[in-house]
């Protein structure tokens, strides 16, 4: 078709050891909204980074044609000059500058090196009108909500004479009203001749605004569907997204399930900065002794928020609900109370929240249970070394001894240190958040084996993961979480990727007036 604005041909991008993209082809028509679908880690974001010059020309194979001409973007400036603008999931606005200053950041309206404030604010107001935002351009970014910030990002893109606007999960952090407004805006930009590429998990959303959908799986293009030709159904998209066979990457294990260990009832959590936004909504879940329970949810579904709010109220405000252990209500309002009551939480972000990277293995392992090594306020350093060394051997942490700094270990070995730390605190229930993220296949198998051993010791294990095969491979039972709600609770033998994905993307019933506060 002559009206093709963008063509990406046989894009292959390799990271050390991983082929992130393999011969991906994408064709986008002028003035359309083109959706890209795929599981976490399928390669959607990598593809968009290739397109926007984050990965410069030469670092990948293949060709990008814009308006029929081959282009070589060396950086983001190149792609923006050509009218390709990407808006990332994490907004890149400077919080204490005004809306107008942010719109023209790096592209200031100036005369002789001085900012022309009249021109800046006037032009900003015009752009804001185009995105339907009535706020004063001199308002600071911190004073407006996330929804409006998203619109400011789009206004900023418009100021750069955008031809192709790429939005990476634009509604992931928005409430319903803001999402609806944003989708309307994308439609209206279409009327102004702007082509949009939208990465999204939300299938309803795609059906509502997209003209075409390209599905990516494991770094390859699966198919491109035409929404108007009636080719698109949820089932079809889900099948294309998942369609991979479960390899035998998981150790065999039969759980010996006992009595209920932990029950979380009516758990509701609000966003720490926006107390009106519910991040977790009346969640109920439980885990029994010896059981491995999975929580499946897409990014932004509230998985980590649920776990961290239970573990010492480490996330969120206005937390309500009750946690029971063996039927008795327990306090988990501080981390030390949660630990005392037998909980452990291994974070998804080990470098930021899990480890002291400038300290050694033994001190990281003992960090959550120093009381077990304490005599009159002093740590028994010999016992600490013996304990840590036992974990080093049992867990197969690859380091010559336990005095090696954790910052020097590989991801898999760091994760083993984190797990050792929580095993030493001797909990009854372990919540493992993305336990195999950023870990190579061999180490993953070892981590799964450790999880099975924990269950065999009679502990309850909750595994949070974005990878459905992983959950299906190791869990006895799986909860699905969507927009902060538990939408399903299925035993492993009844769970299929299609079933899980359907419930992970299940949206709230349209009229919701129950929002408290």
């Amino acid at each position: 078709m002559a009206n093709t604005i963008l063509e990406m041909r046989e894009i292959t991008k390799t990271f050390p050891g991983v082929k992130a993209l393999q011969d991906v082809t994408l064709e986008v028509e002028r003035g359309q909204v083109h959706a890209i679908c795929g599981e976490n880690g399928a390669g959607k974001s990598t593809l968009m980074k290739v397109l926007s010059g984050v990965y410069p020309a030469g670092s990948f194979d293949g060709q990008i044609l814009l308006d029929g001409k081959a282009v070589d973007f060396k950086n983001i400036n190149d792609s923006e000059d050509a009218g390709v603008v990407i808006i990332h999931q994490e907004l890149a606005l400077s919080p204490f500058l005004s809306i107008a200053e942010n719109i023209f950041l790096g592209n200031e309206r100036s005369k002789l090196g001085f900012i022309d404030w009249n021109d800046t604010n006037l032009e900003a107001a015009k752009l804001l009108a185009r995105v339907g935002l009535r706020d004063n351009p001199i308002t600071k970014i911190v004073d407006i909500g996330v929804g409006k910030q998203q619109l400011v990002e789009i206004a900023k893109a418009l100021s750069k004479k955008v031809k192709i606007l790429i939005l990476d999960e634009p509604t992931a952090a928005l409430n319903d009203d803001d999402s609806a407004h944003l989708l309307d805006l994308i439609k209206s930009l279409q009327g102004q001749g702007i082509t949009s590429i939208i990465i999204s998990h939300k299938l309803n959303e795609i059906k509502a605004i997209a003209d075409k959908v390209t599905i990516i799986r494991d770094g390859k293009t699966i198919e491109t569907l035409d929404v108007h030709a009636g080719e698109v159904s949820e089932d079809r998209i889900i099948k294309a997204m998942v369609g991979r066979d479960l390899e035998s990457r998981y150790p065999d294990h039969t759980s010996n399930i006992g009595e209920e260990l932990l029950r979380i009832e009516d758990w509701t959590v609000h966003h720490p900065l926006d107390a009106t936004r519910e991040v977790v909504h009346h969640a109920n879940l439980n885990v029994r002794a010896g059981e491995i329970v999975g929580i499946a949810g897409l990014m932004g579904a509230g998985r980590t928020e649920l776990a961290m709010s239970v573990f010492g109220h480490s996330y969120g405000t206005n937390i309500s609900g009750t946690v029971y252990k063996r039927g008795t209500p327990i306090k988990t309002n501080t981390v030390s109370n949660a630990i005392k009551n037998g909980l452990a939480y291994a974070t998804e972000d080990r470098k930021r929240y899990g480890l002291n990277l400038i300290d050694d293995i033994k001190r990281n392992i003992s960090g959550a249970a120093l009381n077990k090594l304490e005599h009159l306020g002093f740590v028994d350093a010999s016992k600490e070394t013996i304990v840590a060394d036992k974990y080093r051997k049992d867990m197969n942490i690859k380091a010559p001894n336990v005095s090696v700094l954790t910052g020097k270990l590989s991801g898999g070995n760091q994760q083993k240190v984190v797990l050792s730390k929580w095993m030493y605190s001797d909990p009854d229930v372990l919540i493992l958040d993305e336990p195999t993220r950023g870990i190579d296949v061999g180490a993953k198998y070892e981590i799964y084996t450790i999880i099975n051993q924990l269950a065999d010791q009679g502990k309850g294990v909750i595994v949070i993961s974005s990878e459905l095969p992983e959950l299906l491979g190791i869990c006895d039972r799986i909860y699905t979480l969507s927009e902060g709600r538990i939408t399903a609770d299925v035993p492993r033998d009844q769970a299929t990727p299609e079933f899980l994905l359907k419930h992970m993307t299940q949206e709230r019933e349209a009229p919701v007036n129950e929002r408290d506060i």
């Binding site: 939480y345 974070t347 002291n356 960090g367 001894n401």
Partner: protein, 412 residues
């Protein structure tokens, strides 16, 4: 890891999976210890330099005695400061707190007529209150320590002036002065003072025993990668140093009381920071605040207590300084905070927290003290002294940064 200046317990630089020969291991070990070795070599070079340029005055018994006495309060402050800095904070108020406590001790003794020992106890309690005040704002209210203690620097300087009513207080009773400038009573007759030699001997034996025991424990758990020859060299050097200082001191007036106080503080705080739960929590907070909080560490309480401790230590330094000068003056302690902070960073602490040791801070403080002393003997003008100290601090930290970068690139 090169920025720790732990003098006793070695850290390794081993990358898993590589098996170098014994000589390679030794070289790599020494390369990893470059920071500590550098610190010691710097100290020795500076001492020798001044020893030569001052025609032997630097290591004359009377000067060594003065060196200990005149630097004691900076070294005391450095102990508290290194703990604050390990936790990722800073305290700019310590100089003003020294003046404030000095002033209050004068008021208590001369105006309220309190006995000297009661004044000392009250002043230490007052120091704890000062620390609690600042710790509250930092830990529980969440104001950065830089701001809180900058405010404290101004406020307590003012409080010192108000307490003194614009005048100075002098003299102080003899027992109070002894804390700053007195000596342990001589038990011998003339010549070499035996008590000092005994203390020196005991200290040397204790060093040898604790060194050997530590090494035995580490060997047992296969944590030892320090070459035996190097261990012996280090131990011998330390023992000779202790013995030599004891010999010098004994041939003058004996052991300064403040040296005993300082020695006790170093032993207590070094072991607190290395082996106590509180010390571990301090390193954990400075190394990764969020991870510490998620491990159940009461991060706010630890921060609060660190400031209370700094307050008490500042008060002690204030008492020592006042006793030494036999004078409570509103301008006392001017710039002490900068000397203490400089000592900590020369001693290998990291600005971002999580790294640093008490012995390192002490060596850093000694380097500054010897620079001050040597330049004064040589008659270097104060403006040049300040210039040189500034350059030494910059050089020490630049060496650290260079070392870290070298270590980081060697991993890849």
């Amino acid at each position: 890891m090169s920025a720790t200046s732990e003098l006793k317990s070695p850290r390794q630089d081993l990358v898993p999976g590589k098996q170098p020969g014994p000589l390679g291991l030794a070289t790599r070990y020494l390369a990893g210890q470059l920071r500590q070795i550098g610190l010691f070599i710097a100290l020795i070079v500076i001492v020798l330099f001044f020893q030569i340029t001052t025609n032997g005055i630097t290591l004359a018994p009377i000067n060594v005695s003065n060196l200990v006495i005149q630097n004691s309060y900076i070294l005391i402050l450095a102990i508290g400061m290194v703990m604050i800095i390990i936790a990722g904070h800073i305290d700019l108020s310590v100089g003003s707190v020294v003046a404030f406590i000095g002033a209050m001790s004068g008021v208590m003794i001369t105006q309220w007529g309190l006995p000297w020992w009661a004044a000392i106890i009250l002043c230490l309690i007052l120091g704890a209150l000062v620390g609690a005040w600042q710790g509250f704002w930092v830990a529980y209210f969440g104001i950065p320590a830089f701001i809180v203690t900058l405010a404290g620097m101004l406020a307590f300087r003012g409080a010192a002036q108000i307490a003194l009513g614009g005048a100075q207080i002098s003299p102080f009773p003899a027992p109070f002065r002894a804390l700053g400038s007195g000596f342990l009573p001589a038990i011998g007759t003339s010549g070499y003072e035996p008590l000092t030699l005994i203390i020196g001997g005991v200290a040397a034996v204790a060093l040898v025993i604790s060194g050997l025991r530590g090494r035995a424990v580490r060997r047992k758990y296969e944590l030892e990668d320090e070459p035996f020859a190097w261990f012996i060299v280090k131990l011998a050097f330390t023992v000779v140093l202790v013995g030599y200082v004891a010999y010098l001191l004994s041939s003058y007036s004996g052991t300064p009381i403040v040296l005993v106080v300082l020695g006790a503080l170093v032993i207590i705080y070094a072991s607190v920071m290395r082996n106590s739960v509180f010390g571990r929590h301090t390193y954990a907070i400075g190394g990764n605040l969020q991870a510490a909080a998620l491990s159940g560490i009461k991060t706010k309480r630890v921060t609060f207590l660190l400031f209370v401790n700094m307050g008490v230590i500042s008060a002690l330094a204030g008492l020592v300084f006042t006793g030494q000068l036999n004078l409570a003056s509103p301008s006392a302690g001017n710039g002490f905070e900068l000397d203490a902070i400089a000592a900590v960073f020369i001693g290998g602490a990291a600005v971002t927290g999580g790294i640093g040791t008490v012995p390192g801070a002490i060596v850093g403080g000694l380097i500054i003290g010897i620079l001050n002393n040597g330049m004064s003997i040589l008659g270097v003008q104060t403006e040049y002294q300040s210039l040189i100290k500034g350059l030494v601090l910059l050089a020490a930290v630049a060496f650290d940064v260079f070392n870290k970068r070298r270590a980081a690139s060697s991993i890849k």
